[in-house]
Symmetry: C2
Subunit: 333 residues, 2 copies
Amino acid sequence: MVTSTQEESEKVDHRPTLHDVARAADVSIMTASRALNGQARVSAETRERVLSEAARLGYRPSFSARALRARESQLLGFRAPNLMLPVHVEIIQGARDYASQEGYRLLLEVDPDESASGDTFTTDGDLVMGEPPAFLRPSLARCVSLMGRPSAYDIDACGTNLAEATLDALHHLADKGYRRIGLLHHALISPAFSPSQRLIDSGCDQDPELIQVVSNDKSSVLEGLSRLMSLDPRPDAIAVVHVVGTPHVLRELHRHHFVIGRDIGFVGTEVSSSEWGDLIAPRMTAIQVPARQVGAEGAARLIARLRGDRSPARQITIPTMLIERESTPGPWR
Amino acid sequence: MVTSTQEESEKVDHRPTLHDVARAADVSIMTASRALNGQARVSAETRERVLSEAARLGYRPSFSARALRARESQLLGFRAPNLMLPVHVEIIQGARDYASQEGYRLLLEVDPDESASGDTFTTDGDLVMGEPPAFLRPSLARCVSLMGRPSAYDIDACGTNLAEATLDALHHLADKGYRRIGLLHHALISPAFSPSQRLIDSGCDQDPELIQVVSNDKSSVLEGLSRLMSLDPRPDAIAVVHVVGTPHVLRELHRHHFVIGRDIGFVGTEVSSSEWGDLIAPRMTAIQVPARQVGAEGAARLIARLRGDRSPARQITIPTMLIERESTPGPWR
DNA sequence: CTGTTAGCGCCTTCAT
DNA sequence: ATGAAGGCGCTAACAG
């Protein structure tokens, strides 16, 4: 039994609109609108009829028309530079969960950075990874920067303090007795890293070569690692403050038959909710980046703004956590 | 030096529209539109003026208005049931990459499954995980089902053949000499699994208890595992055809001090581009689900449809790959 | 080369 | 309880 749509020659080639529904239910467009939106007073009988016709026709309100009328799209843009790294993914999840709860949806924006500024469309607001690109300048009030370094602009931001996390990791290693600690980290880690007094007091090597700044490219990471490992003497521990880099480094170390924990101490970085560091052998001591919360808090901030919050820009910092597992037993076993 | 926007008391509280730009450049709205869209004939001088005013005002075209006018939003919905599993993530990436290349963007749709059908908005088309929900029925022509089982509806679909992958995994184990193989798999794996002749010929145990169907819940997975492990005799190998379940099972096995490879053979499932199975010790023999391609091919299909392709519905199957690593050395070492 | 007219689908406002 | 007008921002199709 096929419930066909073409009774009475209602051949509708386009998606059915309110107009179609109204005609089918033999009421005015307005009545149809009211019936569907539930709110206003419509006779129960009429409402029934409209609803059933709408269902039969498969009516779905036009997003664009509503947005145009309401002057807001309930859309939040999520802009990340090119790739979709694990961190982004987690952030998206956090943001999406929060946003959808508040009736907003997420639009994934490709960000060819240099794209013609006129080429972009309107969302109610944007979550942007790092610095907001130039064409968003005029609407900074509707932007929240995620995981960026403290911005030059007066803009809401939400991130973690990777600089502190780095020190935490190094302190942990120092406490375990490692004295020649290699550090591999991302350029994002704001101001040039400088070792703490505590590290110096611990008697750790201060060789500047022990600090390598790398990008998200696998090759860049491996190059940094190789510089580290060809130092003389070789580091007795490595901290990788770099979500993308961590697996690369581990794999490479494996490849060279280094046994983590025994031959070298190791602190990696993982996104908090994935915790794969828990699966590998030995289990990896790790900095956990609370990406999900960053996404959620960022979305919360943005939505608050959209709803009229005019308080001064806020910098939200969600702390990382250092999870000690078994890749950092200390140098003498 | 502040380049303020409020010259000549042009206080614009709302986002600037074409109207504002036109007025500022002292031309008609149409001219402004043409100048900005580049196409039509506008005097170079006028164009300059419009462009610069637009830039100064921070004009961005209204997405909704354009979409309304053009009768298409260039938006593809991605609908997944509640959670965002690793597979979804990869699929999204694949889809996004393809879509953005073609000028479409992805809208992440929460899918409260049972939500009022009228509550949803219009996208040009939808990528949906599994079966399209009822309210999408009328527009099946604009839907591509991802990773679903062969659908009752005549609809484009894109997925992998997990049933075959399962057999592959079991054959691999049998070839390695395992004879009592436990299988943990997801309900999605379409028709009830039945062992192949080849397995029977290999002399593998046919105990039906060796096949456990589980859901995406951690608890369900662990329960299935525990049923498997309390069998007598215990399985000498396990195949987990389940992206989400694999890490859970590994972790649990660890917890019980099973050494993968030595105490028990193991085939897991991973999403192809993450390859974390490569990182753990021993490196995990794995079924690789080509999630990214599924997303990309799905998007390609959908976009082709939107562009007028009227060919009969197609079922695209992208094969999984079985990567042999070290967790399946065979039972006798 | 530039301006005018009309209308995309919806909803707020004001009648009836 | 229902309907009629008008307009959100934009652009195709015609003028001029």
